[in-house]
Amino acid sequence: MLRKILAVDDSALIHQMYKLFLSRYKNCKLISAMNGLEALDKLAQEEGIDLILLDINMPVMNGLEFLQRLQKESAYQAIPVIIISTEGKEEDTIRGLKMGAKGYVKKPFQASELHGLIEKITAAG
């Protein structure tokens, strides 16, 4: 039961697409952050975030740094993270996975692909 999803990406377009893609999850609140720092703020403000969709390439604080900070907080460690990857940045994706992200999906992706991954990851607990 997804109640809150935190999407972290520096592009407003991607956030709009998340809004569309994730509309199928009724009663689920979608929270957006434009970079890692903002994401940390949102985590502190909003309780009960069930899933994080994470872009790597962002200004101010990138995804990997954010992940590292995330791992340090016991409260946030358990939140599943899906890395939103791009071509040419496979190294970063792998590092993110090693840092504890549960999965990834490459841009450009279809909504169904994202849904499939989310379901697998959240079902797994």
Partner: protein, 607 residues
Amino acid sequence: MSDFQISPELLNIYLEEARAHLEGLDHALLALEREGLDPEVVAGIMGPLHTLKGNSGMMGFTGIKDYVHRLEDVFVRIGQGAVTLSRPLFDRLFAGASALRDAVEQACRQRGEVRSLQGERAVLDALLREITQRTPSGEGSLPSTQSGTTQSRQSGETGPPSTQSQTTVSAPSASSSLTPSVPSADQSLAVSAPSAEYISAHSSTVRVDFSQLDHLLNLVGELIIHRTKLHELGRELAEQKGGRETAELLSAVQQVAAVSTQLQETVMDIRMLPIRHVFERFPRLVRDLARQQGKDIELILEGEGTRIDKAIIDEIGEPLVHMIRNSVDHGIETPAMRVARGKTPTGTILLSAMQESNHVLITIMDDGSGIDAAAVRRKAVDRGLLKADETLPDRELLQLIFSQGFSTAEIVSDLSGRGVGLDVVLKSIERLNGLVEVETVPGVGTKFIIQLPLTLAIISALLVEVSDRTYAVPLGSVVESLKFRPADVHTINGRETLRIRDRIVPLVRLDAFFGLRVVTGEPAHYAVVLGRGDKRVGLVVNRLRGQQEVVIKALDPAVSGITLALAGATIMGDGRVVLILDVAAFFEGRRQALAHGRSRPALAGGS
């Protein structure tokens, strides 16, 4: 079958972001071209390109996505120092950037990729092949597209591991620990080097549709109207009744007035954007134009942070483009000619913006050949705008270059566009309730000064009654208003005029002008004297009805197109629509009358 529909809203967001990224691309190229290789500039553009690539992919614009990917590769190479930065290289890159912008705009307009970037891609492929052949692969540590390793300037720390990590996945962090073992968390996590422009682009802002701001402004406008009414009623009541409750009511009304004023100011403030948004595209424009004409020109921007209403920003771009083109085409001379004149071979154009009390001054100044007043005079006489024996002070003479069909260039260059002369520029500026003046010194340079109001949306107006109708006259253009008697009117050359102190002011009878019922038999009339620079025109009305702040509402083009003298409309507290006069129309008419040497038919007739 698609998962979702590409809605206009989505396209808008994509387009807006893409435009910002493409601007960044232009700037990066300009900076590299002008100042040579700067790793920070290169690092700074990688992020935007990357986002543009991702976004284009998500929208299904694969051609665009692939092209941007190539661009990323080229920049990586540039960042490594593997590319000789030459003029031809930049010509190719700029051409590619233009093609990319074109493809993006078209894709958004047509909601699908239309323009193929194959040709441009081939150019980049060839470029990359050249580079790879010239330098051996796998040199040093590669910045960006490759990995999460450090940038080239930090290569020292991560030399050997990074090379290895290209080929295997299990390299440095081979142990089961989840954190990378490469030294210093910060550096190893540096995925994209922070760059000032890129960082400041986002964070604590909210994206708002401009139409929502308009809506907000409309609501505030209505609030103001009702507030004014409340205030009036309150005062009337106080005069009639008095007493504690009335006093409290008045006090409450005053509070409402105070808050709504703040609200108004805040909303107006939100609509104000830095003029940078307009100025940004000019460096590129000047570069291209200068190249085309074999001239060497430097564009200096000043005061880009000066804020102005978005509605004005949307409209001022085009006139500025024309004027800058003018400076490049006719102002700045070729390097050879400049040297012959004892000038530096590189010409300079200064574009600056500055706020002064309640308007913004935009200046376009060049150190080119200036405007020859004598040539202007000759042309003016030629075109019948001036009589051979007529003399005009230089300042007014120069203003003639804004007249229709006037062009001082011997060769009409196709760059400025056929027939798009300064008269169109003048019209655009006047539509914004602005003014433009020109100063020049032959052989030394020319300066255009544009004055614009800070905002279009709310103005102070003088309400007047003409026949049985009420009209609003923008107070900013009103010099004075006065009562006069029929006997005071003198007819000169078939035109009615009024002597005001030591000036002769031509009159326009609004009832006749608008084809309304002429109210005769009144002992006096009122003249509202409009001023524009040195000129004066008096509008004859039946009554003055006080001043008021009004929110300007646009008139549907179907209506504004047919009437010559309406700038918009406003809504009174009681819901009545009052039309707002377009001050410029009354000055134009006069100019045309001068040119054709006859008076306007509507003004014929006695007092």
